[in-house]
């Protein structure tokens, strides 16, 4: 049932601790392990907001300098040109607190079937996957906010013209190649639409190797230059939608910056066995429960975020195409 929102209200939690321990969870974990399109290497060096006294900061950038600025002929033998100006802009990086916890009842630990019952330790071992999934989501949401350049039409599914346009518009951003190979992030369904379109694209129908390279199922979510057009593709359902259209995107590495803060500053008591992963901005520790709860728990706490960087020195293209039905 759809309900209107009339005022800010507490958002009910979708999952309640205690209902997660079923054998079906094993299947979910297996799926989660396959679902690892690591985008963290596309997100560049993290912005660290530790000890800043604020959950947000401005990321400055500068344009019309270096290769974008030529020297000017002097106005005369004794009169020189005025000092040059340059453009300064900024984007706002903010960090937010994210968490994930699991609990296991004492009884479940006692009677659990070894090898079949999911244990807290097994779940805690997957913290890296949890981290990647969170980052990929933040990355996809950040990419949906691109407004600098657009490819596609909300009325048409992703097609071969859009694939070429991504390469064309990337080429117009001179200098961005220094950041590395661009990456287009789209849904698997949109990728299928694009491949379908390639089946009638002359360049591909006359070149079976090229068509095979694009259309071949590999099972991977990170595809290395599948169209031979000079950019990689990440497939994920974390791509956001708006008004019946996907908000996919193509960016240079580092065009979306990862934001984090150092969790070691929490200084958790040793009794909760904290494991700090400061580079990722997360810490894993034992969840202390009241003794009469008869449960044990693991908590993952993270300080994370993502933000668009300078659109004038990096490739930032919104791939706005109709969501395939």
């Amino acid at each position: 049932m759809t309900t209107s929102i009339t005022s800010p209200a507490t958002q009910a939690q979708g999952l309640a601790a205690g209902v997660q321990y079923s054998y079906r969870l094993m299947e979910l974990i297996a799926l989660a392990l396959m679902d690892q399109a690591d985008v963290t290497n596309v997100m560049g060096d993290p912005v660290d907001l530790s000890g800043l006294g604020s959950t947000s900061m401005r990321l400055p950038f500068i344009n019309t300098v270096g290769y974008s600025k030529r020297m000017t002929a002097s106005g005369g033998e004794t009169s020189l040109n005025a000092a040059s100006a340059y453009d300064v802009g900024y984007s706002t990086a903010s960090v937010a607190q994210y968490d994930l916890s699991y609990t296991q009842s004492a009884q479940n630990r006692v009677i659990g079937l070894q090898g079949a019952t999911v244990t807290l330790e097994m779940l805690a071992d997957m913290v890296v996957a949890n981290y990647i999934a969170t980052n990929r989501y933040l990355f996809a949401v950040a990419g949906s906010g691109i407004s600098y350049a657009t490819v596609g039409s909300a009325a048409l599914e992703l097609n071969s013209d859009d694939l070429f346009n991504i390469a064309y518009k990337s080429r117009l951003r001179l200098g961005a190649q220094a950041l590395g190979m661009p990456v287009a992030t789209v849904t698997p369904a949109s990728f299928n639409s694009a491949v379908n379109s390639l089946r009638s694209e002359p360049g591909f129908t006359f070149n079976l190797d090229a068509l095979r390279g694009a259309a071949r199922y590999t099972g991977m979510q990170r595809l290395s230059d599948p169209f031979g057009l000079g950019y990689d593709v990440v497939l994920t359902n974390d791509v956001q939608t708006s008004g019946g259209a996907d908000l996919g995107f193509a960016v240079s590495p580092g065009a979306i910056r990862r934001v984090k803060a150092d969790p070691t500053r929490i200084q958790l008591p040793a009794a909760v066995n904290p494991t700090y992963l400061p580079d990722l901005g997360i810490v894993v520790y034992d969840l202390v429960q009241a003794l009469n709860a008869a449960t044990l728990g693991k908590q993952i706490l993270g300080f994370m975020g993502a933000t668009l960087s300078d659109p004038l020195t990096s490739i930032q293209i919104l791939v706005n195409t109709k969501t395939p039905s």
Partner: protein, 239 residues
């Protein structure tokens, strides 16, 4: 003297039936974050209004096609693109208190982040959907799916994930009504010309290609010709 009535143990039991345990939503659909609608005049879209009610089009002065400013959902996800949130804030509180500030350049360019509680009159809503605030929410298995009156999810087969629905013609009429009311700027004429030029370029490129199948080429060309004809529609200014 009347004897005052008192509750008996039996009536007390009858008045307090056992509560049925509440179950979490069983809709298997994607969670979707709360959002603001961001209007950007420099990102126009060609609205296909052929499915829109004639009365609505007449009242707004719309034809079958019109160029309008695109309304993209700008997700209110804490820590992303300057969205600020404190632990414990609900998504709705984040919408109210954590809105990122637009830069001076963005404001000058006519960008608007529309209040999610903007009222949408019922005439712009699809059949079966009531008028009311812009932002709606549907509980799903993994949280909440926020959407507009023109979005949401439909359960076609309970064994399959719910499918997204959209009503683009009514949505476009509502956007046109905002332009007419002066709440947002019309689409940029310059950007629209750029989109038309892209279509002309696509037509030329397609015409010069060598297709193994002449029928396929003709089909592609006629498809682009139709889009070029539609793109000749005017930029809607609400006048």
């Amino acid at each position: 003297m009347a004897v005052p009535s008192v509750s008996t143990a039996q009536s007390a039991i009858a008045a307090n039936p056992a509560a049925r345990p509440t179950a979490a939503s069983t809709i298997d659909g994607p969670a979707k974050p709360a959002f603001w609608l961001r209007f950007d005049p420099s990102r126009p879209f060609l609205a296909d209004l052929r499915d829109a009610p004639d009365g609505l089009k007449k009242a707004l002065g719309l034809g079958d096609f019109a160029w309008l400013p695109e309304a993209h959902e700008f997700a209110a996800v804490p820590g992303v693109n300057g969205v600020w949130s404190e632990p414990g804030w609900s998504p709705e509180e984040t919408l109210v208190r954590g809105k990122p500030a637009l830069s001076d350049e963005e404001r000058e360019a006519g960008l608007v982040l529309l209040d999610p509680w903007t009222e949408v009159p019922s005439e712009f809503c699809p059949p079966g959907v009531n008028g009311g605030s812009l932002l709606r929410v549907l509980p799903v298995k993994n949280g909440a799916h926020y959407h507009t009156p023109w979005g949401g999810l439909r359960v076609v087969d309970p064994r399959q994930p719910a499918v997204p629905v959209s009503h683009p013609a009514l949505r476009a009429c509502w956007i046109a009504s905002l332009v007419k009311a002066g709440k947002i700027q019309p689409a940029s004429e310059f950007s629209v010309q750029g989109r038309r030029a892209e279509l002309d370029s696509l037509y030329s490129t397609t015409r010069s290609k060598s297709y193994a199948d002449a029928g396929l080429k003709a089909e592609k060309l006629s498809g682009i010709e139709a889009r070029i004809a539609q793109a000749k529609a005017e930029v809607y200014r609400g006048q």
